[in-house]
């Protein structure tokens, strides 16, 4: 009689991958998301939106951990994080 | 205790204020937000006693401004609602009376007029708020104001005020005066259904297709209330048919002209007055409220002196019965306008008579009704120099 408890979950834990979604036209360039992203994963993009603001974008190679604080702190409903969709690269 | 009937059909001996409250109840009013003020408190007191017993809500707010706002909120919550006040409170209610006009909110505002200005004679009669009723709030708008001359009419006209408020979607004024409010007379309350009670004009359009301020043919939009899933937006800002603020002169022209025209175009249905031997009279007396009854004695005395004297009693002060008076002006020798102020409705009369006959104001600064001889002298004088 083995005393080892059977593990509850059998499946291999899948590392969830996250990404940031931006609605550039809504952004007013307050840069709260960039400043308060715990991973410092955002930066102002080089393109301007039609109002002349620089929406945020993920820094090349940086990783978003899906904490969604950027969405919480955005006054313009212009950014949120969500599970990476599709190819899961 | 058996459930209290909401409509107390039968004969009563009621004060005007009390009859006014019962009129509201008959019309389906189930929310009263008010504030005590002589001589209108008795309306609130009656409502405070009766509404809780029939499933209604009575709340005494912290001031008249709050009362008017609560009445507007209750209307959007789905209840027919009213408030009652007098001069000082009426002044405080003006801004949100305007909000009710702009948002097309059906409700009733009763003003039991007392002598002003300011605190004036709180327990004594006045008729000095007639122009305030018309222009008291700011901006361009039309109003409906009904003037009862007796407790029975206080009942009937409050029912009519609710009907007009639902039919044309605006706050309707009942411009009483202290004497009518405080005098006690026989009041007959009809059986339920005997007097017409107009229900709210509800929209049957599905939420996504519904435009809260898209009017029907008579320029009045069907209404929904909060909690029905229509997620309406209602704003005091100039707005379009969706109810969204649109800060342009084009939106202003479209909206404000409709808000006014919905009263002007439907004038015939709204207007009401009473005529007694008015056509071809030597002298026509134009009066309203208690003064119309006070004028009856001098009118009869003048008739005994061989004069043909008519009475034209305003039941709707606003809109003013302009067409009728213009026509009568051509057939009468002179016009006498007694009112308990220094000239307000007389200006409307003069505008309509347009010089076709002399118009004589019989003024009174308030505190009591006219002395009959003052009105009689005016009638005789006008008859003499026609």
């Amino acid at each position: 009689m083995s005393t080892w408890r059977k593990p509850l979950t059998k499946a291999e834990p899948v590392a969830r991958r996250w990404c940031v979604h931006v609605l550039p036209e809504r952004c007013k360039g307050c840069s709260f998301c960039i400043e308060f992203c715990p991973r410092k994963a955002l930066e102002s993009s080089s393109q301007l939106n039609s109002k002349g603001y620089r929406p945020p974008r993920l820094i090349e190679g940086a990783t978003c951990v899906g904490c969604n604080f950027c969405a919480m702190i955005c006054p313009d409903f212009a950014i949120y994080s969500g599970p990476e969709v599709g190819d899961g690269k | 205790m058996k459930a209290e009937k909401s409509i107390l059909s039968g004969k009563h001996f009621f004060q005007g204020d009390t009859a006014c409250a019962e009129g509201g109840i008959y019309a389906g009013c189930r929310f009263f937000g008010g504030y005590p003020i002589t001589p209108a408190t008795e309306v609130a007191e009656r409502m405070a006693e009766r509404l809780p017993a029939i499933g209604g809500i009575y709340i005494q707010m912290e001031d008249e401004i709050a009362s008017m706002c609560a009445v507007l909120g209750a209307a959007w919550g789905g209840r027919k609602s009213m408030t009652s006040t007098s001069g000082p409170g009426f002044s405080l209610m003006m801004e949100n009376f305007g909000l009710g006009i702009m948002t097309e909110t059906p409700c009733v505002l009763v003003n039991v007029q007392r002598a002003g200005p300011s605190t004036g004679l709180p327990t004594a009669v006045g008729q000095g708020d007639m122009m305030q009723a018309r222009w008291g709030s700011h901006g361009v708008y039309e109003v409906i104001a009904l003037c009862p001359s007796s407790p029975q009419e206080a009942f009937n006209l409050t029912v009519r005020a609710f009907n007009l408020s639902e039919k044309y979607r605006l706050p309707v004024l009942v411009m009483m005066d202290e004497v009518v409010g405080h005098m006690t007379e026989k009041v007959v309350i009809p059986e339920p259904g005997e007097l017409e009670v107009v229900p709210r004009r509800e929209s049957r359009v599905a939420p996504d297709a519904y435009l809260p301020f898209k009017p029907d043919a008579d320029l009045v939009p069907p209404m929904v209330r909060a909690g029905q899933g229509y997620h309406i937006h209602v704003t005091g800002l100039t707005h379009d048919e969706r109810g969204y603020p649109v800060i342009t002169k084009e939106a202003q022209e479209k909206l404000v002209r409709r808000l006014c025209d919905k009263i002007r175009v439907n004038r015939k249905d709204i207007l009401s007055w009473e005529e007694r031997e008015a056509e071809n009279a030597d002298v026509l007396v134009v009066a309203y409220g208690i003064t119309a009854r006070i004028a009856m004695l001098p009118i009869q005395m003048a008739r005994k002196k061989g004069l043909k004297v008519g009475l034209f009693r305003l039941i709707t002060a606003w809109p003013f019965p302009e067409e009728r008076l213009r026509k009568l002006a051509g057939t009468v020798g002179g016009v006498v306008v007694p009112e308990i102020n220094y000239g307000q409705m007389v200006f409307e009369v003069e505008r309509c008579v347009a010089g076709k006959a002399p118009v004589r104001l019989v003024s009174h600064m308030g505190g009591s009704t006219h002395r009959p001889e003052d009105i009689l002298n005016a009638i005789m004088d006008v008859a003499k120099n026609k």
Partner: protein, 291 residues
Amino acid sequence: MEMKETHPIDDLIRTDRIPHIWCSGCGIGIAVHCFLNAIRKSGIPPKNFAVVSGIGCSGRVAGYVKLDSFHTTHGRPIPFAVGLKLANDRLKVVVFSGDGDLIAIGGNHFIHAARRNVDITVICVNNFNYGMTGGQAAPTTPVRARTSTTPYGNFEFPFNLAYLAAGSGAVYVSRWTTLHAKQLEDSMLEALGKKGFTFVEAISPCPTLYNRMNKLGTALDFMKFCKEHSVIRHGADPKTANIDLRGDIVVGRFVNVERPTFTDFLEEGLAQGLPHRKALLDEERKEFEHE
């Protein structure tokens, strides 16, 4: 990185009116986002909500939320909300307005609704001045602050809104800055879940006016200040929960007590004298229910 066109909160927003009117970096949008998330988590169907706003920057909130919303006159959202709530008890009525609107011209209604413990939630975005009209002093403007109407400095003592609400009878009082988006949302959720007069104050940057006139830097600087200088003191006596824009901002949930609401207390009292009233009200509630 995808350029999306919709945001998860969009079904509760009038997206046809976005981008909204508020300045870049203003905190009102954050408060709205927190509020709409709280609605979603409350489990109460959105159609039962009614939002009432007054006049001012925060007064425009009613125009952006996809709920039954009423944009009333200056200082008067609370009495309007009281009428709305009493007329249909099933509605979840939320007043969402600014410090000037609720506490200056609307102050009398604020203290009375709290005294009566009417079952409404009041969310006050406090940016320490009248923003919409160009940055005038308000009853929340700190001493010596510059505004367009205190060019020589403000020499009046501001209200402590939490203390005022608690003192007037509110059963729930909390204050967060708009940087504390997580706590602000949770606090709104708590307020929405609690019966009675519940009050949530959200301290917001006002970059264009108040911050600029008082050299408090950009909106981002103000948010950094909030991050460095906010002191969380749950249960603190509201009297001591001060706001010092040169020192600390005391935030947290200060009051969370029980008291019968206006309607419950009234109905309980009326039931004694009017036994049939309850049946009448239940019948009416059913009528609202079947919608």
